[in-house]
């Protein structure tokens, strides 16, 4: 029946991007526009003794200069936390800090000027007298007695704690275990680095007192809500937020940021359009960052490899302030995933969310789930090694069998569907795993360090049933809205509350709706990212667009069809229940008499002429649906990486990468594969190269792309991708999330591969990123007993 869904269609959004016609925020130019720049802290922790803006104000071309205190007096509010776990202490966060700077990049003043160049010149003329304070940057050390306090009213720098699972069952498992494997690990800080730096443009209409804000957001409606209710105070009906083309987000553009408040506040204050565009370095010290866990974990097993218990303690670095959804990530998206693909009866996870003098941390692609997969899959590999089992054999032994879904884990989630054996069958076959192991054996005899990394990972995507989210601390609901407008000519406009920033919704949602209504895909236009046209929306993150946003659109389409059937039945003088809606053609006909029919275009027009409608039926053809998901979806993956470590240099080369993912039904395989491969690249980035580094004073040492190692084209082999498919049983499209699985699995697949390569040297664990230097050092340390000097040049 489907003409479009399931097919690899070229993206309809691409022509504008390949011709340089993308509608990014930084491209917006309005008449009489002024330019904003932010003075930022060079210190990780310091008291502001005074700020002298007089020289900056005197610079020709400067319109105004504002400090944090000016903004507070001008009515701005504190940035709120959108996920309040029990007893959380959310410290004050103002758009510009009035008293103390708490991380490098913390904003202290704003300049608005005639040109961006003048605004930057003026920043240099602002004199801030700082009293530097001792800083703390490590998630665990922040809780130690005597550690400097980031916020005076948050004792021990602990903002919140959270725990989940069955402690008793966990203790019992360890008491009765045959084998216990343990790891102390750091899941390092990452900097998201979407290629488009954040930007905002604001325009105030003094006549109507309406504000328009263009912002680089993954979710314009929640930003409007937060601006209206907490930070800017302009009511929602007078505030329009637009997120046009957005150049990547990966989580970092979900959150409410100070510049989204300052830009419109200044635009109103000077009654001129105002534009702010971050530099890359500004992005690196103000965009919320990712990961940063210090973890102690251990896995209990029986001799035969059966997993019985898992205990995890994590200190999660929250940075200097609690970002919008920060407390969600290391709680309900982390500890809840600790069961992985396995039946583990005794799981107990506990965590401490701690404040430090670093950039705030929040969701970054995978968000909690890669951290969970990383520790679990590392432990499983260590256990396999300890027990002399093959890594895939031990995993298979513990899989939740396909006939036990839905499966209730001991850590809250009810997995909806899956077939993990089938998943690994395909991965083993595609990789030719047995042969890979034979080759490894042979290579090892030749002295080569070849490793095979296996990862079997679970993801919870498509957040979330709103009531469940509420019970876990969410301040918002996680449904999605979809509106379909059929025009009198039969053309279709679709409004979705999801937001695309690379995911290709304009193509995939058009495929879905064209099939649902039986129209040509060229006649379907997808609109998103504008609060003035889309009724409401929750945006895009957590791989939720197809599962939640797509489902809302399917529900709207069902309502459109139902109304069209009513009109057609009336005009054809037949009973509604005798009508057939042909989803291949959009034709509506009487069952058994296909020539007694009305075309899609005829009914569309009839709905608007309203000359002959059933009694009581309203004219027009437009339907809206709000879809609240019944559950998360649970995509899963089997990734196998073959790597080689250069014994002389410590450098890692990926020889092969095989990824098999089950993301349920697929709307557009081309786009899904693109998401998987792109996700893998980010996972490889974390495993091998990326690390956001702070020194002990809170100085960000990786504040530019010269210091922060981004994956580049020459670091990768061809990535081999395949799929298995167990449809999600609870959404109408049968889809699961596809955006984050690659990242979740690749990080640990590569790490396991490198550790497997180094296993003959007795090396058990090295923290990521697995840089040549760290590996080389580990090799020197491991082999120094055999006469290797470890020094030399």
């Amino acid at each position: 029946m489907s003409r479009y869904v399931g097919k690899s269609m070229k993206r309809v959004e691409d022509p504008r991007f390949i011709q340089g016609k993308g509608k990014y925020v930084a491209n917006i130019h309005l008449p009489n526009m002024a330019h904003l720049a932010i003075k930022r802290s060079p210190y990780g922790h310091a008291r502001i003794k005074s700020i002298d803006t007089s020289k900056a104000k005197a610079l020709p071309g400067v319109i105004a200069v504002y400090t944090g205190q000016d903004l507070i007096e001008g009515g701005v509010g504190k940035l709120p936390c959108g996920w309040n776990v029990p007893d959380i202490k959310v410290p004050d966060r103002w758009p510009l800090t009035p008293d103390k700077v708490r991380h490098v990049g913390d904003g202290v003043a704003a300049v608005v000027a005639e040109t961006p160049y003048i605004a930057y010149d003026a920043l240099d003329l602002i004199e801030v007298d700082y009293e530097p304070l001792p800083a703390v940057v490590d998630a665990k050390k922040a809780t130690e007695p005597g550690a400097p306090l980031v916020h005076d009213n948050v004792p021990n720098n602990i903002s919140y704690t959270w725990a989940l699972g069955d402690k008793e069952a966990c203790d019992k498992a360890f008491a009765e275990a045959d084998v216990v494997v343990e790891l102390e690990l750091v899941n390092q800080r990452l900097i998201p680095n979407a290629m488009e730096p954040r930007a905002a443009v604001a325009q105030w209409n003094a006549a109507t007192e309406e504000m328009t804000l263009w912002t680089t957001s993954q979710n314009p409606h929640p930003i409007r809500l937060l601006l209206s209710a907490f930070t800017l105070g302009i009511p929602e009906n007078k505030l329009r937020v637009i997120s046009p083309d957005v150049g990547g987000g990966f989580g970092s553009k979900i959150f409410h940021y100070p510049e989204e408040i300052i830009t419109p506040w200044v635009a109103r204050a000077i009654n001129r359009p105002v534009k702010w565009v971050a530099t890359r370095t500004e992005s690196m010290m103000t965009d919320s960052q990712g990961r940063d866990h210090v973890t102690h974990c251990k896995l209990a097993l029986k001799k035969d490899g059966t997993m019985t218990g898992l205990h995890v303690q994590t200190w999660s670095n929250q940075g200097a302030y609690i970002s919008t959804f920060a407390p969600l990530i290391p709680t309900a998206l982390y500890i809840t995933l600790l069961s992985g693909l396995y039946k583990i009866p005794g799981i107990w996870g506990e965590m401490w969310g701690t404040l430090t003098n670093t950039v705030p941390v929040d969701a970054y692609r995978g968000a909690g789930r890669p951290e969970a997969s990383y520790l679990l899959e590392r432990l499983v590999d260590l256990a396999a090694q300890e027990l002399g089992m093959d890594p895939i054999e031990i995993r298979r032994k513990n899989f939740i069998p396909a006939n036990e879904f839905p499966y209730q884990t001991p850590v809250a989630f009810m997995y909806d569907s899956g077939d993990y054996h089938k998943l690994f069958d395909k991965a083993e076959e595609l990789a030719d795993y047995k042969k890979m192991r034979q080759e490894q054996e042979k290579a090892r005899k030749e002295g080569r360090l070849i490793g095979i990394g296996v990862a079997g990972c679970i993801e919870a995507s498509g957040p979330a049933p709103s009531a469940v989210a509420g019970s876990l601390g969410s301040a918002v609901g996680f449904w999605e809205s979809g509106k379909i407008r059929i025009h009198p000519s039969g053309k279709v406009t679709v409004f979705t509350g999801s937001h695309a920033h690379g995911q290709g919704h304009e193509t995939t949602f058009a495929q879905v709706i064209a099939d649902e209504l039986g129209v040509n895909i060229e006649d379907v236009e997808i609109v998103h990212g504008d609060t003035a046209s889309v009724p409401f929306g929750m945006g895009t993150y957590g791989s939720r667009s197809a599962a939640v946003g797509g489902s809302a659109l399917v529900r709207s389409a069902e309502r459109i069809r139902a109304k069209m059937i009513k009109i057609a039945a009336h005009q054809l003088e037949a009973a509604e229940e005798d009508m057939v809606y042909d989803q291949d053609s959009g034709k509506i006909y009487v069952k058994g008499s296909p020539d007694r029919a009305k075309s899609f275009a005829e009914i569309s027009l009839a709905a608007y002429t309203a000359h002959n409608l059933p009694e009581g039926l309203e004219p027009g053809l437009e339907e809206t649906a709000f879809y609240d998901p019944a559950n998360f979806t649970f995509p899963n993956s089997a990734h196998i990486a073959q790597v080689e470590v250069d014994r002389e240099t410590g450098e890692v080369r990926i020889l092969r990468y095989v990824a098999v993912d089950d993301v349920g039904k697929v709307i557009n395989p081309l786009i899904v594969e693109g998401q998987i491969v792109g996700g893998i690249a980010q996972g490889v980035g974390q495993a091998l190269w990326e690390h956001g580094v702070y020194d002990e004073n809170g100085q960000l040492l990786t504040g530019s792309l010269m210091d922060y190692a981004m994956p580049r084209a020459d670091g990768f082999p061809h990535i081999e991708v395949a799929r298995t498919e167990t449809p999600s049983p609870h959404n109408p499209l049968g889809v699961k999330g596809a955006g984050e699985m690659g990242t979740i699995a690749a990080t640990v697949a590569i790490a396991n591969g490198v550790m497997d390569a180094l296993a003959p040297l007795g090396i058990k664990h090295i923290d990521m990123p697995l840089t040549a230097e760290k590996i080389w050092q580990a090799i020197q340390n491991a082999t120094s007993g055999n006469g290797a000097s470890g020094g030399g040049d």
Binding site: D14, Q19, G20, G248, G678, A713
Partner: protein, 156 residues
């Protein structure tokens, strides 16, 4: 300072501040916003354009250095309404997602292939090291450049 620059076939005479970066001149003075800015250290390549036959990062070039130059930006790559083979190949091979690095990537790749018509996968990967894409993992970009190279060779 007065400069004369030909961009996408049109000659412009402008008075610019000596410190004006070429990318700001193109975007803010000429309104050619297809060339994006992704970093401030000449690492990401989003701002790549063609200047006097070379692929150049316009964020590390002063506008005054372009005095007398012939420049092509992403907006000038298609000819007579016909997409350049590199643009077509990026579209056909799903070599872009958010699209932000795409103009620079296409401009860099075009010169890469022009200078080396029989380019290998390894040479493509090495040649595009100066252009960062956060979305695609480069897989489809490499595929697209190969496809475009084949078409560009066939067209000669």
């Amino acid at each position: 300072m007065k400069i004369t620059v030909t961009v996408n076939g049109t000659t412009y005479e402008r008075d610019v501040e000596p410190r004006t970066l070429l990318v700001h001149f193109l975007r803010d003075e000429l309104g050619l916003t297809g060339t994006n800015i992704g970093c401030d250290t000449s690492q990401c390549g989003a701002c790549t354009i063609h200047m006097n036959g070379l692929a150049v990062k316009s964020c590390t070039t002063l506008a005054v250095q372009a005095d007398g130059a012939e420049i092509t930006t992403i907006e000038g790559l298609a000819q007579n309404g016909e997409l350049h083979p590199m643009q077509k190949a990026f579209w056909e091979n799903h070599a872009l997602q958010c699209g932000y690095c795409t103009p620079g990537m296409i401009m860099a790749a075009t010169k890469l292939v022009e200078n080396n018509p029989n380019i290998t996968e390894e040479e493509i990967r090495h040649g595009l090291e100066g252009n960062i894409c956060r979305c695609t993992g480069y897989e489809n970009i490499v595929k697209a450049v190969k496809a475009a190279a084949a078409e560009m060779a066939g067209g000669d």
